[in-house]
Amino acid sequence: MHRPKAYWLIAVMAVVGLAGLALAQGPGRGPAQKKAAPPGRERPAPEDDLPPPPPPRGPHPLMVALDLDADGELSAEEIKKAATSLMTLDTNKDGKLDQDELRPPRPPGGNGGPGGPGGPGGPPRGPTPAEFVQSFFAYDTNGDGKLTKEELPERMRRILEQADANKDGKVDRAELEKFAREDPARRPGGPPPPEGGPPRGGPPGRPGGPPPEDRPS
């Protein structure tokens, strides 16, 4: 199911003159995915002669934009509409598609800027800072516009230490949004990210500090 998608993608890229664009591979794809197995080999070599192939890859934004009925294939009609469909990816409305717009979306704080939430019928775009803030403030049970440790489940409280810029023991919307917009890689301390990183990419790195000690395994 994935290979046909990949072939269609290559074909359509040629049609619309985008063949030169490298498909951005999500950051954190592990080191085991350096090269794909050579295509078109009539008689596959013994497995040990081949480098490890890349892992499964999610639908690329190009494919999501072009595959209007989301059936995994591009029909003649969809190819005909490709030029129009592609412009749905033009998030900065400059009439062009740059690498950032064609790259799988990043979490907030990445250098691609806010990507916008996937609306109804849209692809999973990854959360925006606004969505991040909104989601957290569902826990603002007293409605005072500030999150406190009493309002958050214990395992979620770490963000209070990290986002509380004025160190008043509370996190307001502005503090949380500023935190969400930061590049996580630039946050102080912390271990490196796990191999692979987020499935759709995003800057590496994570903030430091030990997790709460009483969370179960």
Partner: protein, 406 residues
């Protein structure tokens, strides 16, 4: 090697007894073979070898894993002597807990389901815990000892408790060359034992050995199991409904010809992913997100191997599904459009464009039947992974009594 030689065991026990403060473990005179199990061909491919996360400074040795086994079953690692690793990781359940949430010391309950410990050696990034907060199995091994809702001990005191047992000096000496007992060695021995927990003798493995390709019907399967396999592989119809293998059989999807699947042994998802359990970005348990604080990590969890999944319920990080049928029904019709939903679960028609399997009842049943072929009875009963301590009658009564305290 797996033959239980009572005479040899008794002789070895005699070596350990005399001065110990607790029952000594019963171990074979010649250690079990942990270092070089007789793995079948599909476990010996380059791809599978490449997944092995065994570090150069802690290879599995027979004596090291033997020590790890004893530690794994030793309740003295807990503050009140009631909980061992094995209390929540039971062999008959593929080293998980059949209860939704495990009970730790003093009756304390966690709020995540115990993870199954199967083939963790082949989880490429080596990380551990549902939220992958431990970078290695060595790091993970010490975590529960000090976790207040699990074993509740202080590491230093736990080490002292080990030193007070006469049998540990010789065991550490055999494993590491001298009898010194320290945290690094404790972690390494436990990690060796956990990495030795490799399951490779299921009916699925027998079928692979009898067939030229994973795609052809296995002669040892029923028609329903073969149908389930086809669904799992995404080969049963043009829409590839099912297609579980794309995620759960790492690197499987990359083959050049239909009969040339490259990886047919390791039923792991290659990294923590969001499988759409929740629609909201933030909920009470956000997996990796709660410690990385990266918005893109919210709702991402590590998952266990599908091997022995028949006996590892309840399922998911919070044990929300009791049966495999419920899990299949979830993927069939209930995956939620979480903002971090894994791309492999995305792209279908309808609500949020989440990709649902859309299987009918017969196909759902067939898929479950296939999953049950991954059960490895030898693994679940292998004496080399079993409790080496003589049984202690009445222990469970003590646990209940202590558990009533706070």
């Amino acid at each position: 090697m797996n033959t239980f030689t009572v005479t040899a065991f008794l002789g070895f026990v005699a070596l350990f007894q005399g001065g110990g403060h607790a029952p000594a473990p019963v171990l074979p005179a010649t250690p079990y073979n942990y270092a070089a199990p007789d793995l079948p061909a599909h476990f010996l491919t380059r791809l599978v070898r490449g997944l092995d996360n065994t570090p150069a400074d802690n290879p599995i040795t027979d004596h090291g894993a033997t020590l790890g086994r004893v530690l794994f079953y030793d309740k003295k690692l807990s503050v009140d002597g009631t909980i061992a690793c094995a209390s929540c990781h039971k062999q008959e359940n593929a080293f998980t807990d059949p209860n939704r949430f495990s009970t730790g010391v003093l009756g304390r309950k966690g709020d995540r389901n115990s993870m199954a410990l199967v083939n963790l050696r082949y989880y490429r990034n080596g990380r551990a815990f549902w939220d992958e907060r431990a970078k290695t199995l060595e790091e993970q091994a010490l975590g529960p000892i000090e976790n207040p809702v699990e074993m509740g001990h202080e590491l230093g005191k736990a080490l002292e408790a080990l030193k007070a047992q006469d049998h540990y000096g010789p065991l550490f000496a055999r494993a590491f060359g001298d009898p010194e007992i320290n945290a690094d060695r404790l972690a390494k021995a436990l990690a060796q034992f956990v990495r030795s927990l490799v399951s490779y003798q299921s009916r699925y493995d027998e079928g692979i050995a009898q067939s030229r390709s994973i795609f052809e019907d296995f002669p040892n399967f029923t028609a329903e199991e073969n149908r389930g396999k086809t669904i799992f592989l995404g080969e049963h119809d043009r829409a590839s409904r099912g297609n579980c293998a794309t995620c759960h059989l790492r690197d499987f999807a990359f083959f050049e010809r239909r009969d040339q699947a490259k990886q047919t042994a390791i039923f792991f998802i290659d990294q923590a992913r969001n499988n759409g359990l929740e629609a909201k970005l933030v909920s009470d348990d956000n997996g990796i997100g709660d410690h990385s604080l990266n918005a893109g990590d919210y709702g991402r969890f590590k998952s266990s191997s599908l091997r022995n999944v028949e006996v590892t319920g309840p399922y998911m990080h919070d044990g929300r599904f009791q049966t495999l049928e419920e899990v299949v029904t979830f993927y069939n019709e209930s995956v939620q459009p979480h903002p971090n939903l894994d791309p492999q679960l995305f792209g279908g028609p309808g609500r949020g464009r989440v990709r649902l399997m859309g299987l009918d009842e017969a196909d759902k049943k067939a898929l479950v039947a296939f999953l049950k072929t991954l059960t490895d009875r030898k693994f679940l009963t292998d004496p080399k992974f079993s409790d080496p301590f003589p049984s202690e009658r009445g222990a469970s009564t003590d646990v209940r009594r202590i558990g009533a305290a706070p």
